[in-house]
């Protein structure tokens, strides 16, 4: 009987050990988001140029998540239209564009407050984490982070901001692009976008 009890306890312990594994994703996401915001707002980074901030943010993001998953999902069927070289180039350029947009979008804003909710299990392979982003004296945004269980661990495969899926949104743009244009023109367009100055709306609060 003692033997049975021991097994039951071990099984229970193992179960308890598994449950926080998913709950930890919320903490990991919160830590990643705060780390990127630190780069934007802490005094340690105040002398950083926008480009240096972008590099630092990218480093934080890439050490925790694989942005290429979101990019490839957004490209969908168009991914196979690209050559292997173009795939690498497009992946890198969109990666840079996402980080640039984030950094430039946060410049001039007050530091938002991030509240990550509990992990919601959709299936055994998919979970979602609702996040509320509140800008002081301004708007509050609801963002849903969708995670998939990959061999490399839980990875973000979509971000839904105020009911708008970033993957679906970019997929529409890529679909519209590839109806009339090709991969080389996409690379050209992305390079042009990365060189563009930030839109002059510095005083407009979110």
């Amino acid at each position: 009987m003692k033997y049975l009890s021991m097994i039951a306890y071990v099984a229970l312990f193992a179960l308890v050990a598994v449950l926080p594994a998913r709950a930890d994703e919320s903490a990991k996401l919160a830590a990643t988001m705060e780390a990127t915001l630190d780069i934007m707002y802490l005094d340690d980074y105040k002398d950083y140029t926008s480009a240096q901030r972008q590099d630092a943010v990218r480093e934080v993001l890439e050490s925790n998540y694989d942005l290429q998953i979101i990019i490839r999902r957004a490209m969908a069927r168009n991914w196979n239209v690209l050559t292997a070289d173009e795939q690498i180039q497009v992946g890198n350029l969109i990666d840079q564009l996402i980080v640039k947009t984030f950094v430039e979008g946060m410049e001039g804003q007050n530091r938002p407050i991030i509240r990550c909710g509990d992990v919601v299990e959709v299936t055994s392979k998919r979970v979602e984490i609702p996040v509320v982003i509140s800008f002081p004296d301004s708007d509050t945004f609801n963002v849903l982070y969708r995670f998939g269980r990959l061999k490399a661990g839980w990875q973000i495969y979509d971000i839904v901001a105020e009911d708008i899926s970033i993957v679906s949104n970019y997929r529409q743009q890529f679909d519209d692009h590839f109806r009339k244009k090709n991969g080389a023109q996409l690379i050209e367009k992305l390079e042009k976008l990365l060189k563009e100055e930030k839109l002059d709306v510095s005083t407009i609060k979110l």
Binding site: M1, Y3, L4, I7, A8, V10, A11, A14, L15, A17, V18, A21, I69, R72, R73, A76, R77, W79, L97, I98, K100, T101, E104, G105, S124, K125, R126, D137, D139, G148, R149, L150, K151, Y157, E162, D163, I164, S165, V167, S168, N169, Y170, R171, Q172, Q173, F174, D175, D176, H177, K189, L190, L193, K198, L199, D200, V201, T203, I204, K205, L206
Partner: protein, 255 residues
């Protein structure tokens, strides 16, 4: 005695099975079937893309360019100027005032969808904000737990809930993205809006215009905020806006 042994064996097997499952999961030794396959992750049939009918794309793109010019060269400056001149409490008060006046639109939107609870909350909020909140400048209803703001409803949403298709995507001059269903809804919304023609409660056309201009100015920072957010980082701002608008409306109707 035999039955007790059998029970013990079953319990032992059950625990051992549970243990195996738990340990394998916690140690990351799960089977391949426990991970998303390439097909599940990148295949489109698991998550079909939103389809937006856009037969008028060439006309829409011209209107989009026109709107973009106006937004970036006129509205942006109005929004910037307004935010520089008006202190934050004034901005919030003005925004609350016009939001409160949109009550009839939200009420009708709720009623047409049979959302009686929503209609009641909107009515309560309007009554409290108009009285305690001094004509809606201060959102007094937010102080009451049962009167927390709800998602605004409109006629276009109601038509969607009734099953009416959205029709072709449209870009309206100055107003931006829409579709045939939402355009009809927009006309209906105007009819029940007390500040808008043709059934405005304000007789004097000068006062009516002043109200319209003030409302536009107070909304301009939010509009520009959303617009620039959509535009920044977009490969094709037109496509991004089209998809974003459609996703948002689909979601509002589904809710």
């Amino acid at each position: 005695m035999y039955r007790r042994l059998s029970y013990k064996r079953a319990l032992l097997q059950y625990c051992a099975f549970g243990l195996t499952l738990c340990v394998s999961a916690s140690a990351g030794l799960a089977e391949d079937g426990d991970f998303l396959s390439e097909e599940e992750l990148y295949g489109e049939h698991y998550e079909p893309a939103i389809v937006v009918r856009d037969p008028l794309e060439s006309v829409n793109r011209v209107t989009f360019k026109f709107n973009d010019f106006i937004y970036m060269n006129v509205v942006k400056h109005i929004a910037n100027g307004y935010q520089k001149v008006a202190p934050d409490p004034v901005e919030r008060g003005a925004s609350n005032f016009f939001k409160n006046l949109g009550y009839p639109v939200r009420l009708v939107g709720n009623l047409l969808q049979g959302r009686m609870k929503g209609a009641w909350i909107e009515t309560e909020r309007f009554a409290v904000n108009t009285t305690l909140g001094i004509v809606g400048v201060w959102p007094a209803a937010d102080r009451f737990e049962r009167m927390q703001p709800i998602e605004p409803e409109d006629m276009g949403q109601a038509f969607g809930v009734w099953g009416i298709g959205e029709g072709p995507y449209l870009v309206l001059p100055l107003l931006g993205p829409s579709n045939v269903r939402d355009l009809v809804g927009f006309v209906g919304d105007r009819a029940v809006n007390p500040l808008k023609k043709p059934y405005s409660v304000i007789d004097d056309s000068g006062v009516q215009t002043a109200f319209g201009v003030t409302e536009f100015v107070t909304k301009s920072p939010t509009l520009m905020g959303i617009y620039t957010q959509m535009k920044e980082g977009a490969l094709d701002p037109y496509s991004s806006m089209k998809n974003g608008y459609s996703q948002r409306r689909h979601s509002m109707i589904e809710e």
